[in-house]
Symmetry: C2
Subunit: 414 residues, 2 copies
């Protein structure tokens, strides 16, 4: 037997993407599928980016970039942070293949195989994949819809710390819950990390999308008043959501920890570089799109309100009003959201349309959690959102009845 | 103490890139630096690719791609293999962030931490970085200039196999040596792998650059006659060198092993996708550039001849005529090629010019090897190559004298 890696037992299929074959089959039948499963915004990529690609780019060789990133992009990122009152040097920034590679580099730079990172759950499912690829363990601290998916008390987090713990990974604003951690919550995380010699990896790729004028605390707000903690802090950033450029694959890992950066640069040298053209195009975005970000935020807030207006009037679901990003977690009155999600694609049709959602089991690490939850990404315009959420509601009603028949049927049989 | 990963002791700085700060300093002084250190071709990227980028690309959102790759690219790769008489299905191909990610995925899909891959040395230095990142060991089988850097006898390779061995990684045509393995050598590797339940990872990114009409054996030539071996075979491909598009970061890992592909697709889902625009642009290259590849190969052969003409007449160096790719390894009549390489950038000037080379110690895994060797990439046009190799020769002459003075000086002192 030609055996393969035991990672085959630990690396999950993406719950966001694994039902795609069923969606494609539905589309092949001519069905219109509303995608609420994936955080792929329909907002136009900034004109300065498209203009760079279509009109400015004039090189006749697509050359290697510097491993750490093209200078114009690194400077543009630095200035973006500077405008947000954070003192980030060029040497603190490493450009990566999306936020994905940024997190992988951070994990590999910090931890040995079998070491641990604490992470609030529900968790962005891809972290589970990265951890399994890197051979480290994610130790969940469960958060609950009933408490707005905010962080639990200090003791519950500290109870997870042991000799193998190497860091805490947070996503703020949170994917998949939409929670935005308060200044006190962030301070607690930083303080726990500092006292226990842990790293904090803060994935802030949704940091420009904070609703209702809620105050947002960046991880890097702390090294100003607590310079002793600067070596513990790592920020993950990406153009994917900010600049509606998910397919550009430009991200960054940012830290003032020189040893960590030195090691990550060696990782970067091994993989040579990040796509050159997108780096130059995205430098334009970081330099020129603060207005664009405000408009995008306003548009997402409108969508959040649209979705919330519908969700909050339905009393057989549990859902929390999102404070940022563009996701919410919904507990459904059904048994198995994955079966439901598949059924939506294979069986449910209304006027030739259906809706695709991400079943949430894959967003939990603790066994048995999330089986009746879904993540909904409100990345369509309000009109489409209204249609698709209404469609989802009709599907829930229909599926509830089917499930009851199945359950009573199986009871009769047994 | 906030400790970081022990990878800091194992992941090397790239010998190809680590002297870049000295090169940049020289350039800042106005010095013209000939880059023989890095495989960055000066051949123009194909017009169909540039045309796609500048004229055809018309999307207004840079969206996520499918995790496994854009369909037009996957089909174009399949057809590229088909024209080379290899039966590769779409489902055998996973598009990656360059050949780099392809190798990382293959290693992670095969091996547990501390398991081993056998690799001929000198070895493409980035494999050392990938292995250290993934926590696996590379076990070298040394090859020698005197034997054309061809593979040793079967017994020497089999002697390296133990219970931890999971595969053999070859680069063919070879970076850094320019060797092209014969059909017999390839058959030996495949047979050793099959009998010992090992994988073969064959990095064939230079597969289109074979000189002197030498016959080239693809790894996939074997599953036709030895179907039992198909699950053991993995091919790495990339557009970087083929289509002079190093900065596009489009590669592929190709295998008929379904379990392995299934696991690698999960890795791919975790990191979401590969840059969308380059995928679509590179589909054009795979579909339309077989002529371009022939011209590129002819140009590299002219350059190989130019370099060889100069090198073969110098009798204080040891060098083997390259059979493919665009590198050669040169053993110099000096003690420490790394000091020499740095000295070239910091001290040596001739009419305001100098040359950058890659010291070869980092291309060896066995301690003590390669200290007086360099890798030379002949990626400049013949005129520049003549100038830069002549410059290199003058530098060697000068440095030999300096080294003799230093050595006799240190002898006097001691």
């Amino acid at each position: 037997m030609l055996r393969i890696s035991t990672r085959t037992n630990t690396v999950p299929y993406s719950p966001i993407r694994k039902l795609m074959p069923f969606a494609n089959a539905a589309k092949a039948e001519g069905v219109n599928v509303y995608h609420l499963n994936i955080g792929q915004p329909d907002i136009k990529t900034p004109d300065v980016v498209l203009d760079y690609l279509k009109n400015t780019f004039d090189k006749d060789i697509i050359r290697y970039s510097p491993s750490g990133g093209e200078e114009p992009l690194v400077n543009a990122i630095k200035n973006y942070y500077s405008r947000r009152k954070m003192d980030v040097d060029s040497s603190d920034i490493l450009v990566t293949n999306g936020g994905s590679e940024a997190i992988i580099f951070a994990i590999l730079a910090i931890a040995e195989p079998d070491e641990e990172f604490i992470v609030p759950e529900p968790v962005y499912t891809n972290y589970v994949g990265f951890a399994a690829m890197c051979g480290v363990k994610l130790i969940p601290v469960t958060t609950y819809a009933e408490k707005g998916f905010h962080l639990p008390k200090r003791e519950r987090i500290e109870a997870k710390i042991n000799l193998k713990t190497r860091g805490i990974i947070i996503c703020n604003p949170n994917n998949p819950t939409g929670a935005v951690y308060s200044h006190d919550e962030m301070e607690m995380i930083v303080d726990i990390a500092y006292r226990n010699k842990l790293f904090v990896i803060s994935d802030e790729v949704y940091g420009d999308f904070i609703f209702d004028e809620k105050k947002y605390t960046h991880l890097f707000d702390f090294y100003k008043n607590m310079p002793e903690v600067k070596n513990n802090l790592i920020v993950i950033d990406s153009v994917s959501k900010k600049y509606s450029s998910c397919g550009a694959r430009i991200g960054a890992v940012i830290t003032k920890n020189k040893s960590l950066m030195d090691l990550m640069i060696r990782f970067a040298q091994a993989r040579l570089c990040v796509p050159m053209i997108e780096q130059l195009a995205m430098a334009e975005a970081f330099d020129n799109c603060d207005e664009y970000l405000i408009h995008s935020k306003e548009e997402y807030q409108v969508r959040r309100d649209t979705v919330w207006e519908l969700l909050s009037h339905r009393d057989d679901i549990v859902v929390q009003k999102p404070e940022g990003a563009f996701y919410c977690m919904i507990r459904l009155p059904i048994r198995d959201a994955e079966v439901f999600a598949k059924w939506l694609l294979t069986d449910f049709r209304k006027d030739g349309e259906t809706v695709m959602i991400a079943p949430a089991k894959g967003f939990y690490i603790s066994p048995g959690m999330g089986h009746n939850e879904i993540r909904l990404a409100y990345v369509l315009n309000s009109e489409k959102l209204k249609k698709s959420v209404t469609l989802l509601f009709e599907a829930i009603d229909k599926y509830k009845k089917i499930e009851q028949i199945l359950i009573s049927g199986s009871k009769t049989i047994s």
